[in-house]
């Protein structure tokens, strides 16, 4: 039965038969795309080594969750739902696109497996997919061009507005959807007069609407529409394909790979060089990222994969406080640099220093490594490792702010950033009202105990923070455990030393600690400092150390077992809120244990801040960040204290010595003394310890 409408493959265009014309368009389109992608791979081939092909099953599971499952998208509901529809539509329509392209060459082409019943179902699904994508693209375009959500805006110092590109791509997507629907609608009409039972577009789909609109159109016009729609689709499709690798829409292609190749070890920092063992680092010519090619190939892929959605910067505490850092532009600036230096046409340009070029020093030092950006990124782009790598480069060049040089040198000489004497590291145990009532042993080869309490520098030396050490000791004592500390043999965990880029100093501190810990024979380590916890757990990993626990976990465990009881809350009129320290929460996912402990204090009223758990807002940064003097409009801690007040709380409980320092400072700076207090979880628990039941 001949069709009234001739298919694109059967038509002759001028003197060129359809299959030849469309083969040519397809070949040119694919060749251009392949060429551009090949050019985009050039810098990756020059990038540093980065092993990402291990743990296949884990990686596949991540792809299912974060890529196919779009797990992080709903964290921003409006944009998230729009994106899920667009993404799902793209996945469904990938098949349709291939099939359409092939139809121009082979008239009767059917995607294998989609003949018959499956094909009918697919056609219904794809009709709705097209409709969903079209509507989403329209809403997204209106959102971007009319409502302009703040997080998409580009501050003047970071370049021009990105709206035009976004809207262009949305227009291309809409053009694809419209042309596909018109193609189908006109085809459906073309068949109908013969009384054939043909596939009619799914009810209320875009193609169905077009079909209704075309009800009285002449066959000649239908034919013209049919071919035009095909032609527009074909050209738009290949233009879109080749346009993707030119900007932020490269993520349409790279996201699958970027998620598959994502970093799997939370809390850790990448080694200075993957290919070189620690003991050989002295011999390498240069350490850290100084120019673009020093990034690993995966980090370059991150740059390609950024969708410019702004979620990282929207959550970044440094950005919020007006520090000169916006994670989004760490990526965008690197991508712009990469596209400029590795052009699609022409040869790669000469390399330039990144810091002092596209990045400023303060930008790179401003990061607190809180991980909010990485937690939010739907594409699993890494920031901390890149920042640390660039700091390594700056340290290697001697380019370190004066404010950080002194503490670093003190860490080298004395094992703590304050330059205090090693022999005074355990002086906090000697406080009058403490010494007689709680015995803290100094552990070593001869004097061993089951539990090692790793105190770390700030808790050992800072007058105020020493209270945490004493509270922790009293709690451990109450557990009835044999415990002790390393005393003068303990060095700074080096957690921030590493994150501030002084890898060699970190290695030296780590190795000294590992020797001391092994010598003391403890079978478990407890610490009240999440930074030390993270260092011992994720930075010292694989060195045969006993398992490490944060004190909040230990207390929660003892409460669960009924081994300790807490008295009713001393001040029942106060409202408590728990502030998640970054290195306990986001980096190690310990959210529940501290809350469990708080809720075990009878009568304690607790509220949550809007930004809690994995969206917790950094206190301002720990370790060496306390020494750094950033440019900022206001303190990060002040923002956080205000969030607690907004939640209706008047006590901020935290579980990190640095958080406590920053919160207490911020309360003073914000003029909220008397209205707000900050306390460490261990201090609160110590005050509520019930007498041991005999």
């Amino acid at each position: 039965m001949p069709a009234l409408i001739t298919s694109p493959a059967r038509c002759v265009y001028g003197v060129i038969p359809g299959p030849i014309l469309f083969s040519a368009i397809t070949l040119i389109g694919i060749a251009c795309f392949a060429y551009i992608v090949a050019k985009r791979l050039v810098p990756l081939a020059r990038g540093e080594h980065d092993p990402r092909f291990d743990r296949l099953n884990v990686r596949l599971a991540k792809v299912l969750k974060y890529w196919l499952g779009q797990w992080k998208q709903p964290r921003y509901p409006t944009a998230g739902i729009l994106h899920i529809i667009l993404f799902a539509g793209f996945v469904v329509l990938a098949i349709r696109s291939i099939s359409l392209v092939m139809t121009g060459i082979f008239e009767d082409f059917v995607v294998p497996g989609l003949s018959g019943y499956a094909g009918h179902i697919y056609n219904v699904v794809k009709d709705y997919a097209v409709t969903g994508v079209f509507i989403s693209a329209a809403i997204a375009a209106i959102r971007r061009s009319v409502f302009k959500p703040e997080r998409y805006s580009v501050p003047a110092k970071y370049g021009k507005d990105h709206t035009a590109e976004a809207v262009l791509v949305l227009a291309l997507i809409a053009a694809l959807m419209v042309s596909e629907s018109l193609f189908e609608a006109s085809e459906a009409y073309g068949w109908t007069p013969n009384g054939q039972v043909t596939e009619s577009p799914a009810l209320f789909s875009l193609a169905w609407i077009f079909k209704c609109a075309l009800v009285s159109t002449s066959v000649h016009t239908l034919q013209l529409l049919h071919l035009s729609a095909y032609f527009v689709h074909e050209i738009t499709f290949f233009f879109f394909l080749c346009f993707l690798p030119m900007g932020k829409h490269f993520h349409v292609i790279t996201s699958l790979f970027n998620v598959y190749l994502m970093k799997l070890d939370r809390g850790s920092v990448k080694p200075a060089k993957w290919s070189i063992p620690d003991e050989k680092l002295d011999e390498v010519e240069s350490l850290g990222v100084k120019q673009f090619e020093d990034f690993t190939w995966k980090h370059m892929l991150d740059f390609y994969s950024c969708a410019d959605c702004g979620r990282c910067s929207d959550n970044c505490p440094a950005n919020a406080s007006g520090r000169p850092l916006s994670p989004r532009f760490i990526t965008i600036k690197a991508r712009d640099y990469c596209f400029q230096h590795y052009p699609v046409h022409g040869i790669p340009g000469e390399s330039h220093a990144l810091v002092g070029g596209i990045y400023s020093e303060d930008e790179i030092w401003s990061c607190t490594t809180c991980g909010a950006c990485e937690e939010e990124c739907p594409l699993m782009i890494e920031y901390i490792d890149k920042i640390v790598d660039m700091r390594r480069g700056m340290v290697d060049d001697g380019n370190v702010p004066r404010s950080l040089q002194k503490p670093l040198k003190a860490l080298e000489n004395r094992g703590n950033p304050y330059g205090k004497m090693e022999k005074n590291r355990a002086d906090w145990t000697k406080k009058e009202d403490f010494q007689g009532t709680c015995r803290v042993r100094i552990l070593n080869e001869k004097n061993k105990a089951e539990t090692l309490y790793f105190v770390d520098s700030i808790t050992s030396y800072d007058d105020r923070i020493q209270d945490i050490a004493r509270a922790t000791s009293r709690i451990l004592d109450r557990f009835g455990r044999e415990f002790g500390i390393l005393g003068a043999m303990e060095k700074d965990s080096g957690h921030e030393v590493r994150r501030f880029g002084e890898e060699m100093l970190f290695i030296s501190l780590r190795d000294q600690n590992i020797d001391a810990i092994k010598a003391c024979g403890a079978s478990e380590i407890v610490t009240a400092d999440p930074h030390a916890y993270n260092a011992l757990r994720n930075d010292y990993g694989g060195k045969g150390l006993p398992p490490v626990k944060h004190i909040s976990e230990t207390i929660a465990e003892q409460i669960r077992r009924g081994r300790i009881h807490l008295n009713p809350v001393q001040d029942p009129n106060r409202i408590y809120t728990y502030h998640d320290p970054c290195y306990l929460g986001r980096h190690n996912r310990i959210y529940d244990a501290p809350r469990e402990v708080l809720d075990a204090i009878p009568g304690l009223k607790r509220v949550e801040m809007v930004r809690c758990r994995d969206r917790s807002f950094c206190c301002g940064g720990g370790g060496l960040m306390l020494f750094y003097e950033p440019e900022e409009e206001q303190r990060i801690g002040v923002l956080r204290v205000k969030m607690a007040a907004e939640a209706g709380a008047d006590v901020i409980v935290t579980a990190c010595p640095f958080c406590l320092v920053n919160m207490e400072d911020a309360i003073k700076v914000a003029g909220m003394e008397g209205k707000m207090t900050a306390i460490d979880l261990t201090e609160l628990v110590e005050r509520h310890l019930a007498l041991q039941e005999q």
């Binding site: 001697g398 003190a410 060699m504 003029g671």
Partner: protein, 263 residues
């Protein structure tokens, strides 16, 4: 430009608890952390920056014991090209004049266009640079906080003077300059750099290798000696303002106005 920087190893005040010895004329020197004298470090940085601009090399010299070689290695890690240790028992107890006499003999072995020292260190009376210049018959400037290389073997140097004002001079090369802190931002010396320099051979010279005028050198020749050393009592002279924030701020502004701090 061939630049010589004279450096000294001193106890690091920020990383030690300074306690006075039983005699009361020095500090207890066991369990002390030493580092390069702060002013000297600025001088080395300045020398490296000059060489980066106009070429040449930086030599760092110190007078002391084997332990002082580590200070030289740190400066080499920083970017100095060469380090020389001058070490001899006969130097013990030398005063500034003695040190200057030793350095003079060293300088005369080689040709340097510019000699830098820190403005002061511990136990030096800030005199070594000036004395060295006098002995060499070189022009000298102290407390220099900017250096610019001019045509015709000259430098343009800046000095900070009273009231925060700055004076600028031209000085002929070769010359000796003592460097004030703040002239630059000394670079950080990482552990990696220090380790790389750790294996570097530091040539050591003795009195016999140099033609030193021994009349000035050693304890017996010293005409200046330290008799007391004490840590000033803290707290005196500081006025703590009390009250709520607004009161404190108001009072502080008044005081600053009264003392001419703000106009």
């Amino acid at each position: 430009m061939e630049i010589l920087v004279c450096v000294k190893r001193v106890p690091d005040t920020s990383e030690n608890e300074i306690e006075i010895n039983a005699e009361g004329n020095d500090i207890k020197r066991d369990d002390l952390v030493y580092s390069v004298n702060e002013w000297d470090n600025y001088a080395v940085e300045e020398a490296i920056q000059i060489v980066d601009r106009v070429g040449g090399s930086v030599t760092v010299v110190t007078i002391g014991s084997e332990e002082d070689a580590d200070t030289l290695r740190r400066e080499i890690a920083m970017g100095a090209n060469k380090g020389v240790l001058i070490s001899d028992e006969v130097f013990d107890g030398s005063d500034g004049r003695g040190i200057a006499a030793i350095l003079k003999a060293f300088v005369e072995k080689d040709a340097y266009d510019l000699i830098l020292s820190g403005a002061q260190a511990e136990a030096g009376l800030a005199q070594t640079g000036g004395m060295l210049a006098a002995m060499l018959d070189y022009p000298f400037a102290s407390l220099v906080n900017s250096i610019e290389i001019l045509e015709g073997n000259k430098l343009r140097i800046g000095r900070e003077i009273d009231g925060g004002n700055k004076e600028i001079h031209e000085i002929d090369l070769p010359c000796v300059l003592s460097i004030q802190t703040g002239i630059n931002e000394p670079r950080y010396v990482g552990i990696r750099g220090i380790r790389k320099a750790a294996s570097m051979d530091i040539p050591t010279l003795q009195a016999s290798d140099l033609g030193i005028d021994m009349r000035f050198v050693g304890r017996s020749a010293a005409r200046v000696k330290r008799t007391d050393y004490f840590v000033p009592a803290t707290g005196e002279g500081a006025e703590m303002l009390t009250g709520d924030t607004e009161e404190v701020v108001e009072r502080l502004v008044d005081i600053l106005k009264a003392k001419g701090g703000i106009k």
